[in-house]
């Protein structure tokens, strides 16, 4: 009995290996657990983009892209299990879509020599490619997000935030704490007062936090939330009649799921975003013909065009462009993980290229290098229109404040390099 069980276990673990020879981009997704609603959309977008490439163009450079999915439930241990179970199958690049799992994997991918792309999340200082050889976080990171939001507030206030107060309501975790340092620097520079209000995850109950906001009446509230915390925060903000246009979320607090439970009360809520919104792009015509209408859409195509779906799709786009570049550099379509990294380091996405892909203006132009693994870091501000149930872009791409960010990133990367005795390269 025991033997048979062991044999069954072994067989099942072998069976997990997909067919070789194609290019494998594992999709560490989460469709269950507290953040499943966001993960669902993101994973669908990620899958569908590659399905489209496979169906329409026969893959990239003639190589089909496989995206074997592995459920992490946003849990770091399951994430490690997923990483270990997929890395053996010639995994080309990882996109774990969780800041916690990213931190786990940063040392591991460096040891295994597999690049990791974390668009808009993960460790901010990974932007410094001289220390973080294998990690890429284009086109923007959390600190960029914070800076973009403050820039937007500067624009709204005619360039002056002196004497204003800004409250940061944040998810009390690695993710939520990321922007604090940046915002502290920015508050020194622009003369606004920053008050920090942590919310322990999951965060359904935020009454005291919002009573505090009602009392202190900060001019603006920046929301670094995730999952149910966003829905509760937006609802409570509406409850205390906090002006919605003064509540600005990071991009992970900018999905439909975050605003819809509050209904009409969420109208006017703003959030940052680093990709376009809606389906008003020629790309979706192709997606419809090749993926949606043929019934190949991941998850039945229920989420196409939603904010998190678009973001997953954009992550896939960055990876796909990286693969293409790597194939060019390597001179062969069958690239390895190391060649993939070289491809990512030489990656350049221009406006013309985005138009060519049928997504004009959907993503910002950026260029990566050995030194710069993070791109240009621009973001836009979107606003929720509750009656139309749509996000609307209200700004163009905003450049973050590199003068403030760059030293911070360097300091953090240097500290990491010292702790782990890494010799910075790229000189």
């Amino acid at each position: 009995m025991k033997l048979r069980f062991a044999a069954a276990v072994a067989a099942a673990m072998m069976a997990a290996a997909p067919a070789l020879a194609d290019l494998t981009v594992p999709n560490l997704s989460y469709r269950t657990g507290p953040y499943g609603a966001n993960g669902n959309q993101y994973a669908d977008g990620f899958n569908d983009y590659f399905t489209l490439l496979n169906e329409r163009d026969g893959g990239i450079g003639g190589q089909k892209i496989l995206t074997p999915e592995c459920e992490t439930a946003y849990n770091t241990e399951k994430g490690v299990e997923c990483y270990e179970s997929t890395k053996g199958n010639n995994a080309l690049v990882y996109n774990p879509f969780s800041t916690g799992i990213t931190y786990q994997l940063i040392p591991k991918v460096a040891a295994d020599g597999i690049p990791m792309v974390t668009p808009g999340y993960g460790r901010t200082s990974a932007k410094d490619g001289s220390v973080f050889q294998w990690v890429f976080n284009p086109p923007a990171n959390y600190w960029d997000g914070a800076s973009v939001i403050v820039k937007h507030l500067l624009d709204v206030n005619g360039g002056d935030l002196n004497g204003k107060t800004i409250a940061l309501v944040y998810h009390n975790s690695a993710f939520g704490k990321e922007p604090i340092r940046t915002l502290e620097e920015l508050s020194k520079k622009h003369g606004f007062t920053l008050s920090q209000i942590p919310v322990d995850p999951p965060g359904q109950e935020q009454k005291s936090q919002w009573l505090q906001i009602r009392r202190e009446k900060p001019d603006y509230v920046i929301l670094y939330g995730w999952g149910v915390m966003n829905q509760a925060a937006i609802q409570e903000a509406a409850n205390i009649r906090y002006p919605m246009e003064n509540l600005i979320g990071i991009w992970w607090a900018g999905g439909e799921v975050d605003v819809e439970p509050a209904g009409a009360a969420a109208n006017g809520y703003k959030s940052a975003t680093f990709n376009g919104v809606g389906m008003d792009y020629p790309f979706y015509g192709d997606l419809k013909t090749h993926v949606l209408d043929t019934g190949k859409a991941s998850g039945g195509g229920a989420h196409v065009g939603k904010a998190m779906y678009s973001r997953g799709m954009y992550a896939a786009l960055i990876i796909a462009e990286g693969i293409k570049k790597a194939q060019e550099l390597a001179g062969t379509p069958e690239i390895t993980a190391a060649q993939m990294r070289d491809g990512l380091e030489a990656l350049e996405i221009t406006e013309a290229r985005m138009t060519e892909l049928g997504l004009p203006g959907f993503g910002q132009p950026f260029q990566l290098s050995c030194q710069n693994h993070g791109g240009s870091g621009m973001g836009m501000i979107q606003q929720w229109d509750a009656s139309a149930k749509q996000w609307k872009l209200i700004t163009d791409f905003i450049q973050p404040d590199e003068d403030v960010l760059q030293p911070l990133i360097q300091a953090d990367a240097q500290a990491f390099a010292a702790e782990n005795s890494i010799q910075p390269r790229c000189n």
């Binding site: 469709r31 507290p34 009390n172 359904q204 005291s208 009573l211 009602r214 149910v228 209904g263 039945g300």
Partner: protein, 327 residues
């Protein structure tokens, strides 16, 4: 003066939050009282009830995702919507059905086991229901709207402003929750005092064996208690679901109810209410006064520490039955 006003605002809101905790704690108490089972699945029951309510209300096809995956079809909705009241009734029926199933498949086989084994069984049940709820209705965040009002109460604000010069924030949903909780407790008390089944339930709570020997069907009582707990879970699910959408995290409100139980005693319905109020007020005031000094987000643990301190002085909780131990 201003500080005092703020503090009283926090106090009032703490009381309201306490009511929301009590709603969850009530379900625990009912089941513990009648069967000595510490039902960890109460939170998941609330999630399951809320999911079912939204599903019925919006005419979702249950197991749509599973059916689609197996047959390759693309169904998702029946295309109708059910009025809120009818949907609540139907959900209550589903919860009764669930209670019957739980009794027949789980509890019946575990009669007379140690409390910790029963506790584990309810954890297994929680896992199962969590998976079942997701597979039946999907993992998306769902908006729950049964017509309960939300947002600041203008009347309360105007009144307090007129009285004290500072308009208090009171959430209309909280006012409703208080009213509903009061009605619920009144109904429960009336039921257990004045009906035959209610008396049988109290008899079982007092002594299983004696109750059995006077001809009370234990199985019926258990089904009944679990149905009532399911209904209480539904009410809690509606309240919390209206607040922040129906989603997985709803099941975690059970963690908010545990300190309430400790404080009030596992066996006392008034204990659940009073415990909830003390916890609600305590944690809000602590966060208000001490929170900023230690960096905030104290609510995750303060309730437990408060309850722990209470327990050191009264090990059976405020209203719990006194534990008499004999060798």
């Amino acid at each position: 003066m201003e500080q005092l006003l703020y503090a009283s605002e926090v106090l009032v809101n703490g009381l309201m939050a306490g009511v929301m905790y009590s709603l969850v704690a009530l379900g625990f108490v009912l089941i513990f009282k009648a069967s000595g089972v510490f039902n960890y699945a109460q939170g998941v029951l609330a999630l399951f009830a809320a999911l079912t309510l939204v599903g019925i209300q919006q005419g979702q096809v249950p197991f749509a995702h599973l059916i689609n995956a197996i047959t390759g079809s693309h169904i998702s909705s029946f295309g109708w919507t059910v009025p809120s009241l009818l949907a609540i009734l139907l959900t209550a029926l589903v919860m009764v059905g669930l209670a019957i199933l739980i009794e027949a498949l789980v509890l019946k086989h575990l009669v007379g086991q140690e409390p910790i084994i029963m506790f584990m069984a309810t954890i297994g049940l929680a896992y199962f229901l969590e998976g079942l709820g997701d597979i039946m209705w999907g993992a998306d965040v769902k908006t729950l709207d049964v017509g309960l009002p939300q947002g600041i109460s203008d009347t309360a604000e105007a009144w307090t402003a007129a009285l004290t010069g500072y308009g208090f924030f009171i959430d209309r949903l909280d006012i409703w929750a208080t009213v509903i909780a009061a009605l619920l407790v009144a109904a429960l008390v009336a039921f257990s005092q004045y009906t035959k089944q209610g008396r049988a339930m109290r008899a079982v709570a007092d002594d299983h064996q004696a109750a059995l020997s006077v001809g009370i069907s234990l199985r019926f009582i258990w089904v009944m208690v679990w149905s009532i707990a399911g209904f209480v879970a539904l009410v809690a699910g509606i309240m919390w679901g209206t607040k922040s959408g129906v989603q997985f995290s709803l099941s975690l409100i059970a963690l908010k109810a545990l300190p309430v139980l400790m404080l009030g005693g596992f066996t006392s319905i008034p204990g659940a209410i009073v415990g909830g109020l003390i916890i609600g007020v305590g944690e809000k005031l602590f966060e208000f006064y001490i929170g900023p000094m230690v960096g905030g987000a104290t609510e995750s643990w303060f309730a437990y520490v408060l309850a722990l301190i209470f327990l050191v002085f009264r090990p059976q909780g405020l209203f719990g039955e006194r534990i008499i131990e004999r060798v």
